[in-house]
């Protein structure tokens, strides 16, 4: 192996692509945007949970004066009622002006006193967002009020009110905000794999199929350079971009994470320099594998466009083991360390949660991933040695 040749090729490809806005955008936009999205989701969940937004109910009410006792009771249960005058409350909800309207008709008091009062609750179940929860909760409050009055009336008549409640149900939702936040955090390994593959995506196409499309390959191949050295130089350039994208991702994440008040939902998650470096090093073999895989597919394609099409499927391959195991609920073990991408995902999770990982796991993960990377490298060299590349 001629190290000088390898270094020359790698350096040229990196310098060349650092000048290309498309390369940079493709490699780093996801790396920087993903953490932002991620942090945004966490903030949303925490605000909902801690800011009391989850228990507040908002509604508009028409004819509040017809049932002052009911309105007072609802308000005392922290239902925020806004009084409005509307001729056609249905239209207001249908048109999306209002989300939830409680209509208390003029004859409510008469009906209520005679035995049963009627109210209308108008909502649009096709609307996304909070309105379904507001509706369910307000309707539960109304039922509770009705039941309360009914029981009082039974009691006044000397009947045990429990007679009307053959079954009394309590719903208990155990989905704590922390659990929901954990659900978001569980997507972290997917993002990691995606960032690693996206980081090398454009370079892999540009240095192989792109070079050939532009007639730059044949002059290069006419030089006294071993094909193996050419391929290795290109592969290292692709892997470098992949690692840089990963570093950008981790950096953005590490900077943004302290702004998320995770402690408010009883969670403790930090990404300090040591942990970030650990994740980066754990994932370097995967970057090499990604570079090899992307290059083989891109070299195999007949043109730049074909390569791009193939690769947009290839970048989802590393997430497959993650999806399968997350469905099966696999815990980290020695066996899982033999699966590239999965092993990095599990090791990363362990690292983030601060658990101690056996050194053997790390060794197995590194060695198996590097072996697969080597296999792709050998395949790429084979492709570069064949005339098929040119003819």
């Amino acid at each position: 192996m001629n190290v000088a040749h390898v270094a020359t090729v790698a350096r040229k490809e990196i310098a060349d692509n650092l000048r290309d806005r498309r390369s940079l955008l493709s490699a780093f936009s996801i790396a920087v945007l993903m953490p932002a999205l991620f942090i945004g989701m966490l903030l949303f969940i925490i605000n909902q949970a801690v800011g009391g937004a989850a228990s507040r109910v908002e509604a508009h009410v028409v004819g509040a004066a017809n049932a002052p006792a009911l309105i007072d009771w609802l308000r005392s249960n922290s239902v925020e009622l806004t009084e409005v005058e509307l001729d056609d409350p249905r239209a207001a909800v249908r048109d999306g002006d209002l989300k939830l309207v409680l209509v208390i008709p003029d004859d409510f008091a008469a009906g209520f006193n005679a035995g049963q009062g009627h109210v209308q609750l108008i909502h649009d179940s096709s609307k996304l967002g909070d309105s379904a929860r507001h509706h369910a909760q307000l309707s539960a409050y109304l039922n509770a009020y009705g039941r309360m009055i009914g029981r009082l009336r039974l009691q006044l008549r000397g009947v045990d009110p429990r007679i009307v409640d053959a079954i009394d149900t309590y719903s208990i939702d155990t989905a704590t905000p922390a659990a929901r936040a954990l659900g978001v955090l569980a997507t972290f390994p997917y993002l990691l794999a995606l960032v690693i593959f996206m980081g090398g995506f454009y370079l892999a196409v540009d240095t192989t199929a792109g070079e050939r499309d532009h007639g730059q390959l044949e002059p290069l191949l006419s030089l006294p350079v071993e094909r193996r050295d050419l391929v290795l130089g290109k592969l290292l350039a692709v892997a470098t971009f992949s690692v840089l994208a990963l570093a950008a991702f981790l950096l953005t994440f590490a900077i943004a994470l302290p702004f998320v008040p995770l402690h408010r939902i009883g969670m403790n998650l930090t990404l300090g320099p040591a942990k970030a470096l650990g994740v980066l090093i754990t994932c370097i073999p995967l970057s090499l594998l990604a570079a090899g895989m992307l290059m083989v597919v891109a070299s195999f394609a007949k043109s730049f466009k074909e390569a791009q099409t193939y690769l947009s499927f290839v970048i989802f391959i590393p997430t497959l083991p993650l999806i399968v195991t997350s469905l099966m609920g696999t815990d980290p073990s020695l066996v899982t360390m033999f699966v590239p991408s999965l092993s990095q995902a599990l090791l990363t999770s362990e690292l983030l949660s601060g658990a101690a990982t056996p050194a053997l796991w790390i060794v197995v993960s590194v060695v198996t991933t590097l072996c697969v990377a080597l296999l792709f490298f050998a395949l790429a060299v084979r492709l570069y040695r064949s005339e098929r590349l040119l003819v």
Binding site: A4, S222, L390
Partner: protein, 263 residues
């Protein structure tokens, strides 16, 4: 010196090169002349070790192209058909990249770039990025790149394609200068005039075979035509006739599929 003996190359059932033998001497300009799809590019590609021959052999400075391709590449400067340069690098960086891959030191490269910039008149665009270069500027950059290791042999595949009159003239002068400097220059073309005015030796190829070879005068004598263009047309027509008799006429027309690979 470049020698081809009995070269043959097939792509599946298509015979791109049937039987090509010739010799390009040092200090002379040799042209492979032939119509589109005659097998010129395939022949040159065998010579600069891009593809292996199906039959026959080729040697550059006595080095066999199949046995020691790296050895051949060291003594060969190549300008493939429609050679592309890296758009985001400057002309100088393009040349430097090839210099380094030819194991030259940075000092050697800088020194030679100075010389090549004068020889090829590249000063005005040497440190500009190649994106937006004219066809002529691109060609000069690609040529400088091919010459950076001062090869004794130079192979150019249809170098004048797409050049305007001025650029073509400049290139012709460069080619003659290289031959005067003792280099063996081999280039392919389908343009009669440029070959006649520039070449010491002409090898006419049609349908994968050499149909006539020698100096312009010798070819006129061989074909019995006083005009070189007529001689060329006669040679090509005769090739078509004999091939039709041998039912190998297929090769000529089918060989056009090969030109796709040339691009």
């Amino acid at each position: 010196m470049i020698e081809a003996s009995g070269l043959r190359r097939t792509f599946g059932k298509v015979v791109a090169v049937d039987d090509v033998s010739f010799r390009a001497e040092d200090g002379r300009v040799t042209a492979l002349l032939g119509p589109n799809g005659a097998g010129k590019s395939t022949t040159l590609r065998i010579l600069y070790t891009m593809i292996d021959p199906t039959g026959g052999s080729a040697r550059v400075n006595g080095i066999d192209t199949v046995a020691d391709p790296l050895g051949v590449r060291r003594v060969l400067g190549v300008l493939p058909h429609n050679a592309g340069i890296y758009q985001r690098l400057t002309a100088r960086e393009n040349v430097r990249y090839f210099g380094r891959l030819n194991d030259l030191t940075d000092d050697q490269i800088d020194e030679r770039i100075e010389g090549l910039a004068d020889l090829l008149d590249m000063r005005s665009f040497l440190d500009r990025r190649a994106k937006g270069f004219s066809q002529g500027q691109r060609l000069k950059t690609a040529l400088a790149r091919a010459l950076i290791h001062e090869p004794a042999n130079i192979v150019l595949d249809e170098p004048t394609n797409g050049l305007d009159v001025m650029a073509t003239r400049a290139l012709r002068e460069i080619i003659s200068n290289l031959a005067h400097a003792g280099k063996c220059v081999l280039f392919s073309s389908h343009i009669m005039q440029e070959v006649a005015s520039l070449c010491d030796d002409i090898v006419i190829i049609a349908a994968g075979r050499v149909r006539a070879a020698g100096s312009a005068d010798e070819i006129r004598a061989q074909t019995g035509e006083p005009d070189l263009e007529d001689a060329f047309v006669r040679a090509v027509e005769r090739a078509a006739e004999t091939d039709a008799e041998n039912t190998a006429g297929q090769a000529g027309s089918n060989a056009t599929t090969d030109t796709r690979g040339d691009a």
